[in-house]
């Protein structure tokens, strides 16, 4: 039976303290400076990797810590709570899950220990395409078997951290959609080495915040058949069961953001004196922050519920999606309360509020749009007609 622990264990507290200790060495200036230059937090990610935190979910037999998703979430939440941005590296934690669950023993032995040490980075996952977006089964990138190789052709967009990865997981169609019974069949997952890959082009996109994302072009890219994960044609099903982990971890990023905003907002509105008293004494300021705190605590309960179910091996699709939804909304609400109470200073770069505001907004849109979470809950949790 899954149960939610309302307090952190001694080990979880130590884990949190360990992450915060690293984060302390990377203050606001560090992230601000990278933000202006749209550069990757290489030093931070390297340090976090070397300390073992990004290998939290990899089983011990493959060189990781073998911890649960609750601990993984705690690590990411602590990074965002400290003012940093775990989005730069959270995927190193969970993309390997597809290899772990569906890869062959040889693939696991080959890759997981290196992913655990950070010798190999696997933090890019090529799914989204210019013409398919959330309608994944319509994707047009193909991988056609030719002897001992697959030949890949197509385009992907908004594929993050490709330039900071050695390996990428790729979803491509191996059987045309008109030759499969169900449109969810005929898609396959590949683990490909993208270092010096001929015919593979990466075009970085400059985004609203410092998030390394790209358009990808595959022009007759040849990959060995050993790149295939699991069975050909089952790829869509493989990626679906990795989604819950991703949702729970992204919810954790958002919870960290929300806590950061609330702490900033409380501190500022308690000390900022206007009209002879702290602005926090005004209900217009105070209630917005209190409301955001309520949303955040509620989102955390849902995240904890989803994590408890996940770690107990129980179905958690609804909870994981709802946690992601509530987390992203809570962070956005807290971000708005924080920027409002800071007035003009909320827009000043040196306060970090505007940067975090831009960063937290992403999780209302990605990795799945909150509208699609509503669609999921309507259809799969409530049994209503499909709305899209």
């Amino acid at each position: 039976m899954a149960s939610i622990d309302l307090t952190l264990s001694e080990e979880q507290r130590a884990l949190r303290a360990g992450v915060l200790e690293i984060c302390k060495r990377y203050p606001g200036e560090y992230w601000r400076d990278l933000d202006v230059r749209r550069e990757y937090p290489e030093k931070f990610v390297t340090e976090l990797t070397e300390a073992g935190y990004l290998a939290a979910l990899i089983p011990q037999e493959y060189g990781g810590a073998g911890l649960g998703i609750r601990e993984g979430g705690l690590i990411l939440e602590s990074i965002n709570y400290s003012g940093g941005n775990a989005g730069a590296c959270h995927a190193q934690m969970y993309i390997m899950g597809t290899v772990l669950r569906h890869g062959s023993e040889a693939q696991k032995r080959e890759y997981l220990p290196k992913i655990a040490t950070g010798a190999l980075r696997l933090q890019a996952f090529g799914v989204t395409e210019p013409n398919s977006g959330s309608d994944t089964t319509k994707l047009q990138t193909t991988a056609i078997r030719n002897g001992d190789r697959y030949v890949v052709n197509g385009q992907k967009i908004f594929i993050s951290r490709v330039l900071q990865s050695d390996l990428m997981l790729l979803l491509a169609r191996t059987t045309p959609v008109d030759r499969v019974k169900r449109k969810t069949d005929g898609l396959s997952v590949f683990l490909i080495d993208i270092r010096d890959l001929k015919g593979f082009e990466v075009r970085p996109l400059r985004m609203m915040m410092n998030h390394s994302t790209n358009a990808l072009f595959f022009d007759n890219v040849e990959i060995p058949i050993e790149s295939l994960i699991g069975e050909e044609g089952r790829g869509f099903h493989y990626i679906l069961d990795g989604m819950n982990a991703e949702r729970i971890l992204v919810a954790s990023d958002s919870l960290g953001d929300a806590r950061w905003f609330i702490e900033k907002a409380v501190a500022y509105s308690n000390q900022r004196v206007i009209f002879g008293r702290p602005i926090g004494a005004n209900q217009g300021v105070q209630f917005a922050i209190a409301r955001a705190h309520i949303s955040t605590d509620a989102a955390q309960l849902m995240r904890d519920k989803a994590a408890a179910l996940f770690d107990a091996g129980q179905p958690c699709g609804g909870e994981a999606n709802m946690a992601k939804y509530l987390g992203a909304e809570a962070a956005w609400e807290a971000g708005n309360a924080c920027i409002d109470c800071h007035g003009g200073y909320g827009y000043a770069e040196e306060y970090d509020v505007e940067r975090k505001f831009r960063e937290c907004r992403l999780y209302k849109t990605a990795p799945v749009n909150n509208n699609l979470v509503l669609a999921y809950v309507g259809e799969h949790v409530l049994g209503m007609p499909r709305s899209y």
Binding site: E11, R13, A14, G18, A51, G52, A55, A56, A65
Partner: protein, 259 residues
């Protein structure tokens, strides 16, 4: 070489300490407890000595209530081999001398060649235990250490102590006690592997009776704690710039006597 490190668990530097209703202690509600930062320098130095020599054992020792286990666990996560927890209700009111006596008894049982301490704990800033330990054990002691080097055969240690404008260098025969100053090293933080491994390491509970420790009244008793008076409001000097500057200089010279 066996090295023993004494550590104290203290409130996090970011904690807003409140005085408890009894007026003599602090209110523990909501406090985040950490290892006193100077003690972390001591732990780090002990681990570096062990690593440099390629062998040895580092034992962390702390006196205090149950919560202190978490501080010891974090020393184990940094890399200490085991820990000793002096945990007995009779020590609840221990002053520095009683603390030093209990630690000295534990040190005698362990028989390390070197004891490392922080130069002071950052809670009450007493900084007395190291010297008291040295006196009780009859060992040489150097405070505010910025550098140390143990000779190859492990018979003596050269320690450099911070003094105004430079370093004062001592040779001490071992066993000896050193107290770490900020700058001695940059403490490592625990890795995830370290945190997980710390669960399996031993924290031995030691009671007063195990040390043959006889209870005695404290030499030092706290009469009361007082919060700092609130900071007086700032003063804004009015007037045009030349007048205001004149007044500012006058105030700094005559009122504040700052220049």
């Amino acid at each position: 070489m066996k090295i023993l490190v004494t550590v104290k668990q203290v409130p996090d530097t970011a904690t807003q300490v409140k005085i408890a209703p009894d007026g003599k202690t602090i209110d523990p509600t909501g406090i985040t407890w950490i290892v006193s930062p100077y003690d972390e320098f001591a732990v780090e130095e002990a681990l570096r000595i062990k690593e440099k020599r390629g062998q040895g054992e580092v034992v962390a020792v702390s006196l205090g209530p149950d919560r202190v286990k978490e501080a010891l666990r974090s020393c184990l996560a940094m890399g200490c081999d085991r820990a000793i927890h002096l945990n007995d209700p009779v020590w609840a009111t221990a002053d520095t001398l009683a603390t030093a006596k209990a630690l000295a008894a534990a040190i005698k049982q362990e028989g390390p060649q070197l004891v490392l301490c922080g130069r002071q704990a950052i809670d009450d800033d007493m900084g007395a235990v190291t010297a008291q330990l040295a006196e009780l054990l009859g060992w040489p002691c150097a405070y505010w250490i910025m550098e140390e080097a143990i000779d190859a055969d492990g018979k003596s240690v050269r320690a450099a102590r911070q003094v105004e404008g430079g370093l004062e260098v001592f040779d001490l025969p071992l066993p000896a006690i050193l107290a770490a100053q900020k700058g001695l090293n940059e403490p490592r933080y625990p890795t995830l592997k370290g945190i997980m491994g710390a669960k399996k390491k031993e924290i031995r509970d030691v009671k007063a009776a195990d040390l043959g420790w006889a209870s005695e009244p404290p030499q030092l008793s706290i009469v009361g704690l007082q919060a700092l008076p609130p900071r007086p409001p700032g003063r804004i000097i009015a007037g045009d710039v030349p007048t205001a500057v004149k007044e500012l200089v006058r105030a700094l010279r005559e009122d504040a006597k700052a220049i």
